[in-house]
């Protein structure tokens, strides 16, 4: 029994690593896209031009109010039904592109609410104190309010980013070959191994390690910002 495990382990390990790489890639691409897009969306949602803020807030409500899994399925399949062909391209690359778009858009909407809370959470008195001291708008933003916004944004943002680590597994629904897909493959039979459940359990360790490292990093950042309130 143990011999079998020793024999299977390198094969599983290699397959899971490849799957994890895809998970990591989706995670990073989502962050890279959603962090700036979320900021833009938050400006839209706070716009003084009412039609724009209504529209943006409506979109945020829909995206945050419905399951990411449905959004993934719709974004992957719907264009194909309209245009009669798969706009995302074929194979793994196409699925990755569709998953990236769905994740970036979904997470940008969540991030936008966090940015908004951080921006609006800085008391108006801070800006006024800067104005009265004759500072320019950009001096007030960079020297007075920015760090206070960052301090307000970091805790909810770290929660959301750790949720993203786990949410990447949802891309499995459009058959993206991320780590869960790789683990599950051995259950069905892959590379001479079939009916093995342990690789699937083993994928959990990747997630735990990954989110554990992120938790430590975010805690450090929060501590760094804890000298003021």
């Amino acid at each position: 029994m143990f011999d079998l495990f020793i024999e299977q382990f390198p094969i599983v390990f290699k397959a899971l690593n490849i799957g994890f790489l895809q998970t990591l890639k989706l995670f990073l691409v989502t962050l890279l896209g959603a962090l700036p897009l979320g900021l833009i969306i938050s400006f839209g949602s706070m716009s003084k031009f009412k039609p724009l803020s209504w529209l943006v807030n409506g979109i945020i409500w829909i995206v945050r109010g419905s399951p990411l899994m449905i959004q993934l399925l719709i974004i992957y399949y719907f264009p194909g039904m309209v245009f009669g062909h798969n706009i995302w391209g074929t194979g793994e690359a196409g699925r990755f592109l569709a998953a990236s778009v769905a994740f970036i858009f979904n997470y940008a909407c969540y991030f936008s609410e966090i940015y908004r809370g951080g921006i609006q959470g800085v008391p108006k008195g801070q800006t006024e104190a800067g104005q009265v001291l004759g500072l320019t708008k950009s001096q007030i933003f960079f020297k007075v309010t920015l760090l206070q916004m960052v301090k307000r944004i970091v805790p909810p943002m770290s929660n959301e980013i750790i949720t993203l680590v786990k949410d990447t597994s949802l891309a499995r629904i459009i058959a993206l070959q991320e780590i869960i897909w790789a683990g599950q493959a051995f259950l069905k039979g892959s590379q001479g191994i079939a009916g093995a459940i342990w690789p699937l359990f083993f994928t959990g360790i990747y997630y735990l390690l990954f989110s554990g490292i992120l938790t430590i990093l975010f805690n450090k950042l929060e501590k760094k910002l804890s000298y003021f309130n």
Binding site: P123, G125, Q126, E128, A129, Q131, V132, L133, G134, L135, T136, K137, Q139, K143, V144, L147, Q148, K151, Y227, F228, N229
Partner: protein
Amino acid sequence: MSALTVQHLHKSFGKHEVLKDISFTLEKGEVLAIIGSSGGGKTTLLRCLNFLETADRGQILVNDECIFDADNPAEKKQREADIRAARLHFGLVFQQFNLFPQYNVLKNVTLAPTLLGRGKPDEIEAHARELIERVGLTEKLDFYPCMLSGGQQQRVAIARALALSPDILCFDEPTSALDPELTGEVLHVIKGLKSGDSTMVVVTHEMEFARSVADKVIFMAKGVIEEMGTPEEVFGHPKSPILQGFLNKGNQF
């Protein structure tokens, strides 16, 4: 020459006229106390002087030079840079202090002079240390605002405002957010500034303080200057029935 002249200032929020034809003058080195019941427009007046609000009508003159004229259409669209230059004639100490929480005491005081390029860094710092000593907080130079009491925070805020040497320093109820036992130290600091030649406008509910420190007292009610005069005139011989009522109400507590 008067340090500050306010002429026919008006300010409305929507249909609500909060300042109705406010006019007064103040000589250099004088302290003006503004008293009045809640909602009378005292804060709004200080905010107009500091350009946090823009008056709808009227003029503001500092040292006989017009720095704001709402009635002159050419000046109505003042550029942001002009407003910044004009507001440097004034300093404002807020009721809620509004110190910058991420900076220590010294940096709170040096930030604006540094960003405005008011001298070499070591000169700015030396001046800031002097001011911090003047408000009695030399031991707290590297403390962050969250480590200070309300009274100490307000004293830092005063030093911060002084760092730009404004012509006129305004205080909006500087002790209202403080516990009663802390108001004394802040009022003491403000009193101490009087010996210098700072011209000050102090909105306050501390009648004893207004009486002992002010050269001139304005009583505001419902957006108008109901009564104006020396402390002796306003507190000793109030003419307006509203002021008489206001002063009596205070005495009951």
